[in-house]
């Protein structure tokens, strides 16, 4: 009896301990972080007038279950690294500091577990300031008290969370100006950090320098052209907000994960930033045939463009035969020096990628430059000033359909001679005239290609659309990918009718920029971003243009997976 009781006690104890251990582990697994915080917002953007005051708040929450957290709060200066990361620096370091403009409601406080605190900040903008100013509110966690136990070495970490403050002073004298100060291309051989993208990766890096007095938001595009200027590839250049503080250089980078075939190329970087002109740079480079390629770059050329704007950026006019029409344009000099502007018409066309090409001669059956009168056709414009000019067209009798010309605006700094090697910037305003009458909207699909990308299975469908009418068109549309249905042979009966296809996918064409002029051809592109199973396929293109008009095309292709 006693032995049985003892046994039962031991067994019960064992069971109870097992259950307790299990519960404890579950509780620990479900327990919250002991030290956890949330902060919002991490960025405050303000537009204020000189002399204006405003307030904003920042919320700091202690998400810890049991720990109190003591925070120090202070305002400091803000600079920006080349990587685009903001950096906290001592007040007074930055020439564009707003640290002294900002007062916070609390500088030292304790937040209990599960509690939050709203910190108010008041901004007072002094009079007489222009451009942009910047600061950062720092929330620094005070480390715990040191343990009294003897230890050999101690690393004390001060954790800081930040709220950046960007202030734009509302004044017309804010100067937005940026240039690309360098453009580079490197391969894995030259930068080992690229190895994680594959041995054929290439990194393009354009450094944008903000020469203005206010922050800008850069949006970059990288175009790679062959030596004959044919566009090979166009991709975004860099990503993220794209913010660049004044007097700062930030790198805009893109990584292409598979190399270009060996040969000579030109890289073009264009970064728009709400200035009158984008920052542009070109770099010729060569790719070697080695397995891990070497890049050899030529001379980098940054286009120091003259800052001026023309409005409108496109002229579209409808006029009957024998008529006269006129409209105004405005040229705005955004430089701090006078500029000299010359204006003249040129013949133009768009290539298959939709890029504007100026033709060397003023000939062509759709060119109307000879009908145009520009007044004045040249002038000097003081800094910051605007000039209105008129462009008129006299349409001859008996003409019908579309007529086109490109109005070229060449600007140089006054005192420099146009036509010399000094800096000249050109702006193009396309002129589209539709002469009312028998308008012929006609087009056809002249070619279709199915391109396959190794490794990823991506397929690119290229549909060449040709304008065979007498006026410009803006095509849009889609492709339908269909898979041939296999019909099983039943005994001796074999199906010999038309092949049957079932639809696999419908994909819209990538956005078409601009128009297709009469006689011109445009490549419309649709990408299928996945591998297709083996089989026989057809791709049907439907392109909408004009008034309820459609051009169609069809092509068959096979998918055969290569033997591994």
């Amino acid at each position: 009896m006693k032995l049985n009781s003892i046994f039962r006690v031991i067994w019960s104890t064992f069971l109870l301990i097992s259950i307790t251990v299990g519960l404890t582990e579950q509780l620990k697994a479900a327990s919250a972080y002991e030290y956890s915080f949330a902060l919002s917002p991490q960025l405050v953007e303000l537009e204020l007038l000189p002399g204006e005051k405003t307030k904003f708040s920042v919320l700091l929450v202690n998400e810890s279950k049991t720990k109190n957290a003591q925070f120090l709060v202070y305002v400091s200066d803000l600079t920006e690294e080349r990587s685009g990361d903001y950096k906290v620096v001592e007040p007074g370091v930055s020439s564009y500091s707003a640290a002294s403009w900002i007062k916070v409601s609390s500088s030292d406080f304790v937040i209990g577990p599960g509690e939050g605190k709203e910190i108010m900040a008041e901004v007072t903008v002094p009079r007489g300031v222009v451009g942009g100013r910047y600061a950062v509110i720092v929330f620094e966690l005070v480390p715990e008290e040191k343990s009294k136990e003897e230890k050999l070495g101690t690393l004390t970490l001060h954790h800081r969370m930040t709220t950046a403050v960007e202030i734009s002073i509302k004044r017309r004298t804010a100067k937005r100006r940026a240039v690309i100060s360098s453009l580079k291309v490197v391969s894995v051989r030259e930068d080992e950090k690229l190895a994680k993208f594959g041995k054929e990766a290439l990194m393009f890096s354009a450094s944008l320098k903000n020469e203005g007095n206010i922050h800008i938001f850069g949006e970059g595009t990288l175009t790679i052209r062959s030596k004959k200027r044919r566009r090979i590839r166009q991709v975004p250049l860099g990503g993220g907000r794209g913010t660049v503080l004044p007097d700062t250089i930030v790198d805009f980078q893109s990584v292409l994960t598979r190399r270009l075939p060996p040969g000579d190329y030109i890289a073009e970087a264009v970064i728009k930033y709400a200035g009158s002109r984008p920052a542009v740079a070109k770099l010729p480079f060569t790719i070697s045939p080695e397995e891990v390629p070497i890049t050899k770059a030529g001379s980098f050329k940054s286009m120091m463009e003259i800052s001026f704007a023309v409005e409108p950026e496109l002229i579209e006019m409808v006029a009957p035969p024998g008529s006269f029409r006129s409209m105004g344009l405005v040229v705005h000099n955004r430089e701090d020096r006078p500029i000299y502007v010359e204006i003249y018409p040129r013949a133009m066309e768009y290539n298959s990628d939709g890029e504007l090409i100026l033709l060397p001669s003023a000939k062509g059956s759709y060119y109307c430059g000879d009908w145009l009168t520009i007044n004045p056709s040249s002038f000097e414009l003081p800094p910051g000033e605007k000039k209105r000019l008129s462009i008129s067209v006299k349409v001859p009798e008996g003409k019908v359909g579309g007529r086109y010309a490109n109005i070229v605006f060449d600007a140089v700094l006054a005192g420099d001679n146009p036509g010399t090697t000094v800096r000249k910037t050109s702006s193009n305003v396309p002129f589209f005239l539709t002469i009312s009458g028998t308008l012929n909207q006609q087009a056809e699909i002249v070619k279709m290609k199915v391109l396959h990308q190794d490794g990823s299975g991506h397929r690119e469908f290229v549909v060449s659309f040709k304008n065979t009418g007498n006026m410009h068109l803006k095509p849009d549309g889609k492709i339908l990918i269909k898979k041939r249905v296999k019909i099983e042979k039943k005994g001796e009966i074999e199906y010999v009718g038309e092949p049957d296809y079932e639809q696999v996918e419908e994909i819209a064409f990538n956005k078409v920029e601009g128009v297709v002029l009469p006689g011109g051809t445009r490549d419309l592109i649709a990408v299928y971003p996945a591998e297709l199973p083996d089989g026989e396929y057809s791709v049907e293109a439907e392109v909408d243009y004009g008034d309820k008009k459609k051009a169609v095309g069809k092509k068959t292709f096979s998918v055969v997976t290569a033997e591994k």
């Binding site: 902060l39 919002s40 917002p41 991490q42 919320l59 903001y86 690393l155 805009f252 990584v255 190399r259």
Partner: protein, 225 residues
């Protein structure tokens, strides 16, 4: 009656024993496994061993799970969508107790960062542990392998503490939304001439707004016919 008494005594004993067990388990401290470099191999010393040549702690319990609370955050009128950030850390002080010279490593500094925007992590003030008496230093190295490793033998790039000034590369936006974990391994070398006193280093980790990141080609290459 005797059976009832026996049952109650049993229950009392069981509860007492289980509480004792829980107390023991609840005193599992914030000690982290430490390794010692012997020759060219790292040897795991584990935790809780009073005879271990070195032991490492952080000032709080090791994080085992993430419990991100959702707070209704008032949005500033100057931003259409406020960028928030959540930051969870293992502690604010990291200590070593070393009994004899050697090279030791531990994986004790970790954090989880979550945000709906791009965040950069800046390191500053990192350096060797300096003697409070001013008569020597203990060299320190750091590493943040991605993905994390199970033991320091797999770490190829140890960075001297003074060179830990680069920004931490946070994963992509989707990862940052869910919560991105980074771990900072640290390694110290204690030599015979290190005097018996305290050594320390004060450093800073700052979370900042990130305005730029590289664009990575999502496709693998170029098309061919």
């Amino acid at each position: 009656m005797k059976k009832i008494a026996l049952g109650l005594i049993t229950l009392a004993l069981t509860v007492a024993m289980s509480m004792s067990v829980m107390a023991t388990m609840g005193s599992l401290t914030d000690e982290h496994p430490a390794w010692e470099l012997i020759g060219t191999q790292w040897s795991l010393m584990g935790t809780g061993s009073v005879s271990a040549n070195a032991r490492a702690w952080s000032s709080d319990e090791v994080i085992k799970s993430c419990n991100r609370l959702n707070w209704p955050i008032s949005v500033s009128v100057h931003a259409s969508v406020a960028q928030w950030i959540e930051f969870s850390i293992t502690g604010t002080r990291y200590t070593w107790l070393v009994r004899k010279p050697g090279i030791y490593a531990a994986n004790s500094i970790s954090a989880i960062i979550a945000s709906n925007g791009d965040v950069g992590v800046a390191f500053s003030g990192f350096g060797d542990l300096a003697s409070v008496k001013g008569d020597g230093t203990i060299p320190v190295w750091y590493a943040a392998p991605v993905p994390d490793v199970a033991d320091p033998g797999a770490i190829k790039d140890w960075i001297p503490a003074a060179q830990l000034t680069r920004e931490c590369e946070i994963g992509d936006t989707a990862e940052l939304h869910k919560g991105y974990t980074w771990k900072l391994w640290n390694k110290i070398e204690v030599v015979r001439c290190n005097t018996a006193c305290e050594y320390q280093n004060d450093a800073c980790i700052t979370l900042v707004l990130k305005n730029q990141k590289p664009w990575i080609d999502p496709t693998t290459g170029y098309f061919k016919k």
